[in-house]
Assembly symmetry: C2
Homo-oligomer: 224 residues x 2
């Protein structure tokens, strides 16, 4: 049941939230037991991969029975660190910053939004869901004084690096970055990027690849 000291690959880590989500679904449907085979069907993975993934963290299953959905959900929640609470700030109260601030689901999952920061004097002093918008000049001190653990960067590209540096100087342990820029921070700080335009451009690539496929198939036929 102990986490092995072998480092878990990012490929596995990025599947964990997906397991978590599907297990939550199953609980809502009042399904309390599932085999890797059944789970593989609904998730679109192989049963083998599911068993491999879960065994990075311990033997959660039982031979001849499968997995206890409730227990597995709870365990993965623990592994993801969702049993803890995280003091959080959002920097940048523009479109995305506001959207994240308003998204109350995260609050429910243990993310305590303690402050929002912006450079725009018109916004400073306003509140989003009872959370005040402060002047970004106050960011580093605020992070220090309130033991903020996670900083969410929603500022424009050009301000991303300096914002990250203020957050790090203040002592955050992790940064969730929405700016389309690759931030440089010390290795001991966790960085997770959400690069929306990269996602959108992947979509348009695939859109055009689909178009291309017709041509390719013709080529293939000619070659036969």
């Amino acid at each position: 049941m102990e986490r092995s000291s072998q480092k878990v690959s990012m490929a596995v880590v990025r599947r964990l939230p997906k397991y978590y989500r599907y297990l939550e679904d199953l609980l809502h449907k009042e399904i309390y037991r599932i085999s890797s085979k059944e789970l593989s069907k609904i998730m679109g993975l192989t049963a083998s991969q599911i068993r491999q993934d879960l065994n990075c963290f311990g033997g959660f299953g039982q031979q001849g029975y499968g997995y206890n959905v409730e227990e597995l959900h709870k365990e993965i929640g623990k592994i993801l660190g969702l049993t803890k609470r995280y003091k959080t700030v959002i920097v940048g109260a523009g479109n995305i910053g506001q959207a994240i601030a308003n998204y109350s689901h995260f609050e429910q999952k243990g993310f305590e939004l303690k402050g929002i920061f912006d450079i725009n004097p018109k916004l400073i002093g306003l509140k989003i869901r009872d959370v005040e918008i402060y002047d970004v000049d106050y960011l580093e001190d605020f992070v220090k004084e309130n033991n903020i653990e996670i900083g969410v960067i929603c500022v424009p590209r050009e301000k991303a690096q300096e914002t990250a540096e203020k957050l790090v100087a203040g002592g955050v342990r992790g940064i969730w970055n929405f700016a389309p820029h690759d931030i440089k921070i010390p290795e001991n700080i966790v960085l997770e990027n959400v690069h929306l335009s990269e996602s959108l451009y992947t979509l348009t690539y695939l859109l055009n690849e689909k178009l291309q496929e017709g041509t390719d198939n013709l080529e293939n036929i000619e070659l036969d």
Copy 2:
């Protein structure tokens, strides 16, 4: 220079927007020539990987010289389909829907926002950046009549599947999905997901892994 008919792996595809972004940066810095080695340093990839990646699409470089930044940027833009225009709708005018609608950068890159859809009567008739919010009942017909190619799903989890089906029935070719749900659509439609909570949970996982590392190292020392 022709795109090889060999299918390009998703690993490569997802790096393309990143190349595109870095090349744009270089252009702004008035750097017009770069070797795979130099590019590898600033992007944090290996030079070998860069050359492999680019060669999936053609020989853009020149031996002894490197790559022409302007040309390569243009070519990757073409490959990503960014020379075209895409008629787009957003479904769901909540937090994320509004944020995307307000984000004018996408408009500049050729994404023409033709309509926003919501179920809330209070929102219907309002405009975001000159784009009207319509009743979601009108979605399928609107998509048909306006030849919409991309649908952005920003509705709650429970409405995601039915929204996708309306978009597909209307004839979109691609869906950009922000709902935390795995949508099922026909194979010929492109689906790109942005699962924000999965990204956030990956962050918290890594945050706790870092904590763990201390312990692991101690264990390792003991074992030595």
